[in-house]
């Protein structure tokens, strides 16, 4: 460890988790897990169970000896051998279940502690890891899943993502941060890395330096969702690609050394950024990195929300990528294995996971596209999904999550299917469903966000949802706003049909849901929802 944990000098100002981290580094748990695999679940101490996160492992609901594991997939890049390994682990240990997350990672469920060493080793053999996919450390780096093949990127970010990921992974200089730490790197002009909701983000920019136009990045700090969402602030610096690691290490060092460790609920970088402001943050950063050019020309022009379904030309002539819809990110290991076969058969074995819980098969010669589209797997994981299914995102929900209040994943899938049957739109609506306020399903950035709660009724406890409208990133980024009036789960499909029907009936030609919300205002939706709920109450 090449730094001094000076916060250890004032233990009275540290929260309990901080004391645990000083007692034993999170990364030490990896060796311990090999021991626990021999001694069994019952032998795991409470403190060590908390440290399992550094190995990318959490206890799943209902805490009966089963675990969730998250595997890092930086920028979503997977090759077919890695995909086969992931699929085999799911089949052998995880009840054949693979979930793609909103950070391009893969999650397993149903694992037992005695299986973890074998899984770690299988992952390592193909250059994958679950280590530091959770915990107070730099987690998997999200980015443009099309890096290297994207006609809309300034340059290929793949080497920089790898360099930074390698810098941080298993690096004990950064394995004890005040809280979780999320990084995004993308050079796409459409912000598929969701820059504004990451602790640290790099987005495309150019700057004329010494008479030459240099392509590089702008830097954002302090974004994050959770129960207290905050949009990242852009710093007044320009970063040439070769300085990206220096700057990321600088920002992360600031977080490690100045981030708040007294109270865990205000430990995320966003609290420090909110207190300091971007100017002070920049000053401190320059002390660590040396001089950096001031901000250049921002090359972000919009937000594609991270969606790539369909067949599209790559920047390489004669090659296409095919974006497939994975409804709410869930597939079987067998399906992932088949995707690996398709990637090998028709392309060069490249797959890319997306932060919208979908997947891309890359580098398909144009002449092979038609044959690939006829493969049976593409009937379910289709490149041409119906709108609501295509743009539906969900967290894990009560199926496996200890914090969720309601079931979400299968419900969102069914709800999207129903809406696809009932409503035809020429503009997609992004719906995100979450089972609690902690935002794993990124409810705040959805066109329509649905957040679960439990209502006491005369017929017993019932699941219900609050409705939020109008979230977006990119230009005019903002979080969605809550409508008053909770909807009991059995009424949710019909209420949404009615509410979306209001949009469909009164929207202008070509008007998106967000533009419509901007034009008619939240009050118009509230009025409509009030009327719908009043009608439901009358019909009871």
């Amino acid at each position: 460890m090449a730094y001094k944990a000076f916060w250890a000098e004032t233990p009275e100002k540290l929260n309990k988790t901080e004391l645990l981290k000083l007692e034993k580094d999170g990364l030490d748990i990896i060796e311990d897990i090999y021991r626990y695999a021999q001694t069994g679940y019952e032998s795991i101490t409470e403190d060590d169970m908390n440290r399992f996160k550094w190995a990318g492992v959490y206890e799943q609901r209902p805490k009966d000896g089963h675990f969730m594991m998250r595997v890092r997939i930086p920028s979503g890049r997977l090759d077919s051998e890695q995909a086969r390994t992931l699929a085999a682990i799911a089949r052998d240990y995880g009840r054949d279940l693979v979930d793609i997350t909103t950070r391009q990672a893969v999650q397993y469920h149903w694992l037992r502690v005695e299986q973890l060493p074998d899984i770690f080793e299988r992952l390592a053999k193909v250059g994958l890891s679950s280590f530091e996919a959770c915990g107070d450390c730099p987690r998997t780096i999200v980015g443009n899943p099309l890096a290297g093949i994207d006609p809309h990127e300034l340059f290929d970010t793949t080497p920089y993502v790898k360099q930074l990921s390698d810098t941080f992974l298993m690096n004990r200089d950064f394995s004890n941060l005040p809280r979780k730490y999320k990084i995004s790197i993308s050079a796409s002009i459409y912000n598929p890395g969701h820059a504004e909701i990451n602790d640290l983000a790099f987005t495309p920019a150019v700057k004329v330096i010494d008479g030459q136009e240099v392509k590089g990045f702008h830097v954002w700090v302090g974004g994050g969702l959770s129960a207290k969402p905050y949009l990242a602030k852009q710093l007044d610096v320009f970063v040439a690609p070769e300085r990206l690691v220096d700057v990321a290490v600088g920002v992360t060092t600031i977080f490690r050394d100045y981030g708040y460790r007294e109270k865990r609920h205000n430990a995320r970088l966003k609290y420090l950024v909110a207190d300091w402001g971007p100017e002070k943050f920049k000053e401190k950063l320059l002390e660590l990195t040396g001089e950096l050019p001031t901000r250049g020309e921002d090359k972000l022009v919009g937000w594609n929300a991270g969606y790539f379904t369909g067949v599209h030309q790559q920047k390489q002539e004669g090659l296409s990528y095919i974006g497939l819809s994975v409804p709410v990110g869930r597939m079987s290991g067998s399906e992932l294995e088949e995707l690996a076969r398709l990637a090998d058969t028709y392309g060069d074995g490249s797959l890319r996971t997306c932060n919208t819980q979908n997947i891309v098969i890359a580098n398909i010669p144009n002449e092979k596209v038609e044959a690939l589209l006829k493969e049976p797997l593409l009937e379910r994981l289709t490149p041409y999904p119906k709108h609501f299914t295509a743009f539906a995102v969900s967290c894990t929900g009560t199926e496996f999550c200890n914090l969720a209040l309601v079931e979400t994943k299968e419900r969102m899938r069914q709800l999207a299917t129903y809406l696809d049957q009932e409503i035809e739109l020429d503009e997609p609506i992004r719906i995100h469903m979450v089972g609690c306020p902690n935002s794993c399903g990124q409810r705040q950035i959805a066109d329509i966000g649905l957040q679960g709660s439990l209502v006491k009724t005369s017929e017993g406890m019932k699941e219900a949802f609050d409705i939020y409208i109008g979230g977006t990133l990119g230009p005019n980024a903002r979080f969605n706003e809550k409508l008053s009036g909770r909807v009991i789960v059995e009424n949710l499909p019909s209420v949404l049909v009615d509410l979306i029907g209001f949009f469909k009936e009164t929207k202008r030609q070509g008007e998106s849901f967000l533009q419509f919300v901007d034009r008619v205002g939240k009050a118009a939706f509230q009025e409509r929802l009030d009327a719908i709920l009043a009608q439901l109450a009358e019909s009871k």
Binding site: K16, N402, L403, L405, P437, S453, A464, R486
Partner: protein
């Protein structure tokens, strides 16, 4: 054990937030109802009672209620 945040709307449209420590959602509703009955004299009719959040219980955990 979890710390549950329960939103309550009364028949007269006034509102309250109740925080209860319990091991399950069902028991949290029961405890919240008990707290409300104890708190309101004369009693107030509850129109809606909703669990909106839960956190694993530990010393120092809590909620901020915006007024």
């Amino acid at each position: 054990m979890f710390l549950f945040r329960v939103e309550v709307t009364y028949a007269d449209r006034s509102r309250a937030e109740v925080i209860v420590l319990q091991e399950s959602e069902e028991k949290a509703f029961k405890s919240a109802s008990g707290q409300i009955e104890h708190h309101n004299l004369p009693p107030k009719q509850v129109k809606e009672m909703v669990i909106v959040e839960k956190k694993p219980a530990a010393a120092g955990r809590g909620y901020v209620i915006d007024l």
